[in-house]
């Protein structure tokens, strides 16, 4: 696909992937390489190793692979670097990456690349009749990450930043509904980039002085409409500040339906107070879809039953995942049901705190099956403990 004259998207489409190391990808995903044809032919990033045939066929459709002069590697992770060695073997191209990229690619391929340029942050490099400027963007999303700005055309090859896991026939974000693509971009940010907000802020500062007419990410669709570019950059800025949103999320795992009953009551009470509320049953929903909503959350209610003296394993997994993702400025409350090991909830609360949530009060736990009295106590505790008193009660 020729995006603009002599600039092509070499998109390897992973139609079959539904789980990207734990991240649910219902649309599949893409690994985007980009090819610039000119005095020097330049390939920016490659794809996963098993996309070899598709990737090389799409290049060959434009020019013979052995005519590639430079390969820019913005990111050493294997979904983008997987075919670098093969491209270089076929073309004898010079590899361009960050100094950390050089180190990490050598550790991935267990070899030294003979022709390699490790570019410094901000370095400008002319390759034939094209000029690039490189910006190191460590931790967006690995220490080696960088963006390549194609000065002549005002195009930013942004690597993982601004990407989405979204496979389809489309190439541009404006070819699908903006709700869909911004939601996928948010899911991507929340699950992959969120821990590195400080690094994102540095990246945004680095690119803020650039005129950008197109953002070409390494996954998903390309941003080209001025409004879309402005919106996605503004969204990244908001997400990187880790500000809480407005929603109440009720996330639970249940054994015999007692915790579910409490979760449903929490949901109704939240709606009655005019909160935007969403409920997630961990037996059914994927944790990456739950995390996708976390940037929008103000309050999170976690519910679990107790099994063998522990909270249920999917809840424990979610809390471990959230601890790594480092959301801040969100309040949380816990609830659940138990048979005899009530003290297990102390650990539950400690895990929620360790995941970065503010817990203004202890949770509420019911033995075996909640009766009417315990449901009334639950409602009372929600009102006095976690829900904002200024949040007005309205009719359903």
């Amino acid at each position: 696909m020729e995006l603009i004259r002599n600039i092509f998207c070499i998109k390897a489409i992973d139609w079959d992937i539904a789980n990207f190391h734990g991240y649910s990808t219902p649309f599949g995903t893409t690994y985007n390489g980009y090819l610039i044809r000119g005095e020097k032919n330049i390939l920016i990033d490659t794809a996963k190793y098993y996309c070899e045939n598709e990737f090389f066929e799409k290049i060959e459709n434009i020019l013979p692979v052995d005519r590639i002069d430079f390969v820019i590697s913005n990111h050493a992770e294997m979904d983008h670097s997987g075919l670098i060695e093969k491209v270089i073997a076929k073309s004898n191209a010079t590899l361009i990456c960050s100094p950390k990229g050089k180190e990490n690619l050598e550790k991935h391929f267990h070899k030294k690349f003979e022709k390699i340029i490790a570019v410094e942050n901000g370095q400008i490099l002319s390759l034939g009749n094209t000029t690039f400027q490189f910006f190191h963007t460590p931790m967006v999303h690995w220490p080696d990450s960088m963006c390549a700005y194609f000065i002549d055309k005002k195009i930013l090859f942004s690597s993982d930043a601004f990407g989405q896991h979204f496979a389809g026939a489309e190439f541009f974000a404006d070819e699908v509904g903006s709700d869909i693509i911004f939601r996928e971009a948010r899911k991507y940010y929340a699950n992959i980039v969120n821990p590195y907000g400080a690094a994102v802020r540095k990246t945004l500062a680095a690119i803020s002085g650039l005129q950008i007419e197109m953002i070409l990410p390494a996954h998903g669709l390309i941003w080209r409409k001025p409004d879309d570019i402005k919106n996605i950059v503004n969204k990244y800025s908001a997400w990187a500040s880790n500000q809480s949103g407005e929603k109440v999320l009720i996330i639970y795992e249940t054994m015999w339906g007692s915790t579910k009953k409490m979760a449903e009551k929490c949901y109704i009470e939240a709606v009655k107070r005019n909160y935007k509320a969403e409920m997630f049953n961990l037996d059914i929903r994927d944790i990456s879809d739950i995390v996708a909503e976390m940037p929008e959350a103000k309050i999170v209610l976690f519910g679990s039953s107790i099994l063998h003296g522990q909270i249920l394993p999917k809840m424990a997994g979610l809390l471990t995942y959230l601890t790594g993702l480092r959301f801040e400025k969100r309040k949380a409350w816990t609830f659940g049901s138990y048979g005899w090991a009530r003290s297990s909830f102390e650990r539950f609360e400690a895990l929620v705190k360790a995941a970065g949530f503010e817990m203004p009060c202890n949770g509420y736990y019911v033995q075996f099956v909640p009766d009417e009295n315990s449901i009334q106590t639950l409602i009372k505790q929600l009102k006095s403990g976690i829900f904002d008193p200024s949040q007005q009660q309205e009719h359903l």
């Binding site: 950390k100 190191h136 460590p138 931790m139 220490p143 590195y196 400080a198 690094a199």
Partner: protein, 51 residues
């Protein structure tokens, strides 16, 4: 005492130092020069906290 980078998780261990930035073993975190950066992600010293 060990210090961890809040950005990327790298741990500075004074017993090991940081050979690439000419820091010999035995240099405590608070003795590192201000120009020292996280060897993984380039973050400054201010991004570190006790591990």
């Amino acid at each position: 005492m060990k210090y961890v980078c809040k950005i990327c998780g790298y741990v500075y261990d004074p017993e090991k130092g940081d050979e690439n930035q000419n820091i010999p073993p035995g240099v405590q975190f608070n003795e590192l020069p201000d120009s020292w950066v996280c060897p993984e992600c380039g973050a400054g010293k201010e991004e570190f906290e006790p591990f």
